[in-house]
Amino acid sequence: DVKVTQSSRYLVKRTGEKVFLECVQDMDHENMFWYRQDPGLGLRLIYFSYDVKMKEKGDIPEGYSVSREKKERFSLILESASTNQTSMYLCASSAGGINTGELFFGEGSRLTVL
């Protein structure tokens, strides 16, 4: 079974702090994604990566950066957390190739910025 693991289920941070959200997948997937889920807005893509050291901006990249040093790991970084970044963050992965199939999601990281 595909497993996508997000390191922290719940985090509380203060405004201005640097925040790292880690995601690891164990199925050798080429593609990895970071979404945020907010009520009434659905899932919005922040960044994605289709290969090691490659990254692409999604729909809402402002205030975020990512790192993919190894194929199995995709990190989301909030350089200076703000209250409007309070959200549920979801990591996902998928097999390589264009438009080939489903996303496998982690359980999510609920971030609260005070």
Partner: protein
Amino acid sequence: DQQVKQNSPSLSVQEGRISILNCDYTNSMFDYFLWYKKYPAEGPTFLISISSIKDKNEDGRFTVFLNKSAKHLSLHIVPSQPGDSAVYFCAASAYLTGNQFYFGTGTSLTVIP
């Protein structure tokens, strides 16, 4: 601008009856569609998908219908069970956008025992 829309934020259905969840999209280039189910405090899980070359795909109690001319898809759950109570998201992608999926805002389904 929301390219994938789920206009019903919530839906309640009696156990054993049919649940119909709807999804509309605006981008005619979308050619692959998926439905995901999400329980509280968990990540979404894949439910069923359909390619634009088909108009129907069935998997057990779940059937997805695609009407390309209307840019509309629907998920039918028959018979509905209390364990189906969750938030359902539809998602779409297009060959030209690579692996980027666009999600709707979700519909919260409650199946009443």
